[in-house]
Subunit: 361 residues, 2 copies
DNA sequence: GTGAAAGCGCTAACAC
DNA sequence: GTGTTAGCGCTTTCAC
């Protein structure tokens, strides 16, 4: 086995033309065979297949996309990879997209509206057929404006249903927030508190807060203390300090706007010598897998992230097929997973999934 | 504001030609201005910029890539999104890639060699300029064969340094495994055990095991019990049952090949009424963020995942620039994070990063 | 059933 | 400094 002669420059990968030449047929026949469009004689097919094999031909997706005006690319943009909840959704998206023959283009925004625009632009540049994304807030989102202007079909995940915007796949965040307040009230807590990621960076966190406040009020409890922290580098210690210094002192029950934050908060409480749930009750949101393995398990509102991702992908793919399929929001049921000793299968809280037809868009 | 007349079909996004027409210049000038290649008169530039603005022109990455033979796309393929360690690496990759103007194409393999081939093929179809990936095992990897055949520059992450393969960015897994055994021995344990993800699906898990066994032998301990479990849906209960039924019974110290598995194992131990580290010592591997928040914190070997991803991206981008930059492996230092009460900053264990020039490839 | 040829949107010679 | 033009690899009429 001797070394091959050094190539002058990087050899190009074989093109459909090379295949056609080698098989002694036209590029049209090769294309037809490879795409299953149009008939090709048995003899011709065999020759083409042989040439493809010999050359190690791999159709160039760029050329194909440019010509056909469909890239078979789906853009995915999420706020962050640090919080596992988004990875779960991406996993669901990936599975469904792959099954349908789509490849994912990926971007991260860091919970930042300007970065959302940048990321969306980057994915749009490659002419993604559609996009699945989570934005800070759909209402005034420039990223969504860009998507609409480009008329690129898209589906939101986690975001709140928003009139005039694309359909979203999520849970009823407000109802869930209310359920947490009721839960705390039922346990006899009166001093509630919420530690939330920056409300300006998350419409769903804002919805959870609304529900939580409403639920507390409905239960006849005093208004909960509320503190915002950064999403990316939460500082729950400072939030707890502020709460402790406030009127009423530290709440006996804390609702954290996501599990990631809840776990950090429990650590901060431990540093103050406070046990969970003994001294302070803490409930998170998302249902990330690791929460169930904590001791004791993290109480949380579980949203079916992988399924949400899957459903978002299925909806998007359906949109890409039909001429102008007007899908509505999909509100999946959440479940409450209590902290208690290894809970059995939790029971669905909000019943069957709701399908809603969008009036707008 | 009246409705616009219904379009006959989906309007195309403006092309460089539209811009040129509107600005009354040639497409060449537009291209030159947009790419900063070649001079353009001030007056012309202004007209072009105006036209770009008016039309909302966004250069088509497909056309650009097809012509220039450089896609500015980087392919990323990881085994799974369930284990947060990979998300951490992707975050590091994304940051560096974005800064250099690259967009990520994303694929998942599920720790399966055949799926690796499929995923790599999918990304190769879009002519990624390069790739960053983790494979089950580099040595016989068909996915890497495909990458080499296509002459697409690539860098491995997490994988073991492997002669004849692309450079990898990782830690010294074998040394780390040895360190864990030494640690257990130092604590006075004699019956060690390891619960590892399927060895066939992870060359680094195999390396960790080798080091662990060697370390145990060097410490004069009996050979540790070893059990393999699935990566995606680990069943630590079964592994513990098997160990308990084996000679010597359940080990007093368990090394899990990754944190994800360690957390699940601790849960399984809890179900048997065994506390960690009181009854059984458990050490994981990876240093995923959540481990530090467990009570007590998960003992683990911390590898700098985000930095590894970042370094892999930087290396790849360097390769793309230079003609034939022959980078070597990059072995970053790992740290041991003990379980104890909130540890301070851990001290590096294996010293300065090692740079190695590859003999082969 | 098969082939010739026209582009998809863009960049990069190459003229001027 | 600016324009013309030839493709990059592919799909898809349109003839035959």
């Amino acid at each position: 086995m001797t070394d091959p002669p050094p190539e002058v420059s990087r050899p190009m990968s074989p093109t459909i033309r090379d295949v056609a030449l080698k098989a002694g047929v036209s590029v049209a026949s090769v294309s037809r065979l490879l795409n299953g469009t149009g008939r090709v004689g048995a003899e011709t097919a065999a020759r083409i297949r042989q040439a493809v094999e010999d050359l190690g031909f791999r159709p160039n997706g760029l050329g194909r996309s440019l010509k056909s005006q469909r890239s078979r690319l789906i853009g995915v943009m999420i706020p962050s990879l640090a919080n596992p909840v988004f990875a779960d959704a991406v996993a669901g998206i990936e599975t469904a997209a792959r099954a349908a023959g789509f490849t994912l283009l990926f971007g991260v925004s860091g919970y930042h509206a300007e970065e959302e625009v940048r990321a969306v632009e980057a994915l749009l540049a490659y002419r993604v057929d559609g996009m699945i994304l989570t934005v800070t807030a759909p209402a005034g989102s420039q990223a969504l404006d860009a998507l609409e202007a480009a008329r690129v079909p898209h589906v939101l995940v986690y975001n709140q249903p928003t009139p005039g915007r694309a359909p979203t796949v999520t849970v009823d965040n407000e109802d869930a927030g209310r359920a947490v307040a009721r839960h705390f009230a039922g346990l006899g807590h009166r001093r509630l508190g919420m530690i939330t990621g920056a409300l300006g960076g998350s419409d769903r966190a804002a919805a959870r807060l609304r529900g939580f406040l409403a639920g507390a009020a409905e239960a006849g409890l005093p208004a909960p203390a509320v503190r915002e922290v950064e999403f990316e580098t939460p500082d729950p210690d400072a939030a707890l300090d502020a709460m402790a210094a406030g009127p009423g002192g530290l709440p006996t029950a804390l609702f954290c706007s996501n599990d990631w934050l809840a776990i950090a908060t429990i650590g901060a409480l431990a540093r103050r010598g406070l046990a969970v749930p003994g001294d302070v009750a803490v409930t998170g949101f998302d249902g990330i897998a690791v929460g169930a393995h904590l001791t004791p398990p993290l109480a949380t509102i579980v949203q079916p992230s992988a399924e949400m991702g899957r459903q978002a992908a299925l909806r998007l793919i359906a949109m890409l097929g039909e001429a102008e399929g007007q899908a509505g929001d999909l509100i999946l049921p959440f479940t409450f997973r209590p902290s208690g000793p290894q809970a059995g299968p939790a029971s669905p809280h909000s019943g069957r999934p709701r399908e809603e037809r969008a009036d707008t868009m």
